[in-house]
């Protein structure tokens, strides 16, 4: 099947050797651990097509002032044509490219109407605590970020990415599906900062990222284990005009530990040992404490209209994006 140019390039870049080559070029400069083997972030073509039908749905989407797929209250002063996307029911059929239909036999929607794009910033926690669990939290975060980034790029939204770690270069803002390969390469090159000591405070990482970055939606993909309180970092984003979104990722081993007996628990970030005698009662107390901790985070976000979604990495990626995030109103 022949795809439009932008989508075809994105597909080639996302699912083929382009991601791996780009990641190989980026890794040394990022100071990240080399990937053990080439990985595919989002390789399912059907899933990519379904992503293209979605859009970010936020109540107060801060915009960059540039054209995008989100309707602008301003007059249409954008270029007539920007890109194609597949036709979706409900689209204005006047913008269907009938010539392409004549050549390819499929309906494609011509983008270029006066629309403001949405700057989507994907901030991924790369602390050592994210390299934990089965499925791995960091892998899950990168796949989820790739899906959201591709979704935004497909809507001609601006997409930026960065790691919640100091001295880690961030990805400049990208536009258009043609840039999906770069996004995927950047994400593929992110690795956990094992052995670098304690995780960086969230506030410091946020400040480092927002400098010179256009305002927009900042999606934080993190397990929440920061040395400082999450409130400081989220508050910094709000003050800077960002719309934070907190995707709280936890592995099944954290949600329902299956450990028992006398153990010495070692913090993978700090190496701090904690002796523990795990009994059903102890595990129940842990569950209560986890619920309380997550609840505090959720209440804080709700009070500031910050979308908060807690995801288990056991949840399949498609179900998380197409199901959970849509149900929670982050996507439409």
């Amino acid at each position: 099947m022949r795809l439009p140019v932008g989508l075809r390039r994105a597909r080639d870049g996302a699912g083929g050797a382009l991601v791996t080559r780009a990641a190989a070029r980026l890794r040394p400069s990022l100071g990240l651990r080399p990937a053990a083997a080439p990985r595919t972030l989002v390789a399912d073509e059907a899933f990519l097509r379904r992503l293209e039908r979605l859009a970010l749905a936020l109540q107060r989407p801060p915009t960059t002032g540039l054209a995008g797929d989100h309707r602008s209250r301003r007059k249409n002063d954008a270029p007539e044509f920007a890109d194609y996307r597949t036709y979706s029911p409900g689209d204005d059929f006047r913008r269907i490219d009938w010539k392409a239909y004549g050549r390819l036999g499929a309906l494609y929607y011509r983008l270029g109407e006066a629309q403001e794009d949405l700057a989507l910033h994907l901030l991924i926690d790369t602390s050592a605590s994210m390299d934990y669990g089965t499925p791995n939290k960091l892998d899950y975060a990168r796949q989820l970020a790739a899906a959201l980034g591709y979704l935004a790029l497909a809507r001609l939204d601006a997409v930026g990415a960065g790691a919640l770690a100091p001295r880690t270069p961030s990805l400049p803002v990208l536009r258009g599906k043609a840039q999906a390969g770069r996004l995927f390469a950047y994400l593929d090159g992110l690795g956990a900062r094992n052995g670098s000591g304690a995780a960086a405070p969230l506030l410091e990482s946020v400040r480092a990222y927002r400098r010179g970055t256009p305002r927009g939606v900042a999606v934080l993909l993190t397990d929440g284990f920061f040395p400082d309180e999450h409130a400081a970092g989220l508050g910094e984003l709000l003050q800077a005009g960002f719309q934070p979104v907190l995707l709280h990722l936890l592995s099944p081993q954290e949600l329902a530990p299956e450990m028992a007996g006398d153990l010495e628990l070692i913090d993978v970030e700090t190496g701090e040992p904690v002796p523990a005698s795990l009994s059903p009662e102890t595990l129940a107390r842990y569950g209560e404490r986890l619920t309380t901790w997550c609840g505090e985070m959720e209440r804080y976000c709700a009070a500031r209209r910050i979308p908060y979604v807690r995801l288990s990495t056991a949840l399949p990626l498609e179900e998380a994006v197409l199901g959970e995030l849509r149900r929670r109103g982050l996507l439409e």
Binding site: S129, L265, I266
Partner: protein
Amino acid sequence: MTLEHPGALWWLLLALVILLLYILRTQRRRVPVASVRLWRGLSEELEARRNWRPPRWTWLLALQLAFVGVVALALAGPVLLRPPGGRHLVVVLDASASMGATDVAPSRFGEAQRLAAERVAALTPADRVTVIRAGAEPRSLAWAASAEAGRAAIDGAAPGDAPGALDSALALAAAATEEPAGRGEIVVLSDGAFPPPAFPSALGAPVEFVPIGRGDQNVAVAALALRRPPNGGPTVGYARVTNFGRASATVPARLTADGLPVETRNLELGAGASEELTFTLPPGTRTVALQLETHDLLATDDRAEARAPGAGDRPVTLVSAQPDVLARALRALPGVRVTTVAPDDYAGATLAPLVVFDGFLPRALPAADAIVVNPPAGGALDVRGTTENPAGVDYDPTNPLLTAIDPAAFQLGRQVTLQPPDWAVPVVWTDDGPAVLEGAVDGRRVVVLAFDPRASNLPRLRAFPLLLANALDRLGWGDREGTVQAGQAVRLPPNASGQVVNGPAGAERVPAGVDAYADTERVGRYTVASGDPKTGAASPDAAPLAEFRVSLLAPAKSDIRPRAQTMPAPTGSPDPRPAPALALAGLLLLGAVALSTAEWWWWGKGN
């Protein structure tokens, strides 16, 4: 329930070991977690860091503790006991001679049987009864048996003519009450005609004495003895007749010799008076009987019999190359008839029941009693050589073989050095080994004089014939002479192939090798005959090997006045001991196997 091996409960300490393994912490496993933020302080810090912890209750721990407990209990041998509810009646029937008195019909023993039967009839099916016959030797006729079996034992009991051993009977009764058969109680049915018994120190049950009898009229032959003077004169006899009743009595006493009347005297006896009789027996008399012509309450002691010393032949075979010295000494003994056999003719000679070997000894002892004098090497004894003029003569002064003899005067001259056989004990010995030994082997009795009398001073001493006479007595000849008191054991002739003793109660087989007979509870004549080696029965045409007469001759039993005896109070615990009903060890071991299986299943489930 009780435990047969309570010491096995120490195995329960293994449960503590298991608990200790659960309490002590082994090295902690290090497990990485994303963050210890939520884990920190979750367990009590002090508790988590201690090297021990309270044991956590798990099914595995419960199974393991249960397994140890069940196995320890099984090893302890638990036994379920039958709840005690019944009585254990122990009946002691006095079967001594005085119980034959007829002052109550049909006799005192019969009355005792009747009363005992009444007691047993009152028992319930849950009760148990033990019947002990207190004769010369106490014997249990029924042991913790049912009332029916006890009644049958009582009906089958018979009185004896001997003094009873009530002390031993009560000890046996006390042992019976220790049986876990119910609440014990002892009933003694007796006329009390016995000296106050030495009761067992601890009787675990109350003892009730039931007196029987009311009369005391009895005149008895209290003593009868015969003696043959050393000078070879006629045998003289001595007898004492006593009136044990409270009334005077005139009693004709008839003396017979070999069944022929010798003399009859009318004895006027006051209450408790005795009359002593002496008499001279006609030459050649073999047996004497003194019969009181009276109809008093007890007939057993109205007659006494005795065999004259040296009555009949005492055949002795002397195997010697130089028989003069020994033959002369043996012939000096009463009744001894010596047949001399040269050592070369020994193989084909007919041997007497007593063989004297002098300077000769075959490799195998004959089936006869033997006196071995100066044994040579190569015979049945392990002779190592000879010693001239041995010194350091010592001896066992209590041995009957040395009665009236002072071995210190012995000058042995030449002693035979031999290795004493394990069946013999030394009687006289020197620094070079035993000089005189005695013992019994394979039913024959043997006396060994391990020196040459001709080289010693013995032939010149009066001790020499005395030593030979004592040796003959030790070989049993004297036991069967005179009169034997009822209940007294009698030595039998050499018994290599079994014998049969015919007495007033019938014939009784005596196995080969047994050299004594103790069942002399009935008065009368007893004969000993060889038994058939295959059947054990007496040969019909075989001549008796020996004969002896048994009489009561027990003044304590002839004094038949009923006497109340004070029985001891119970000193043991009156609580009855329940009877074992069911051993639980097997069931518990099966339970342990089931627990072990459950433990493996639980472990296999990954717990």
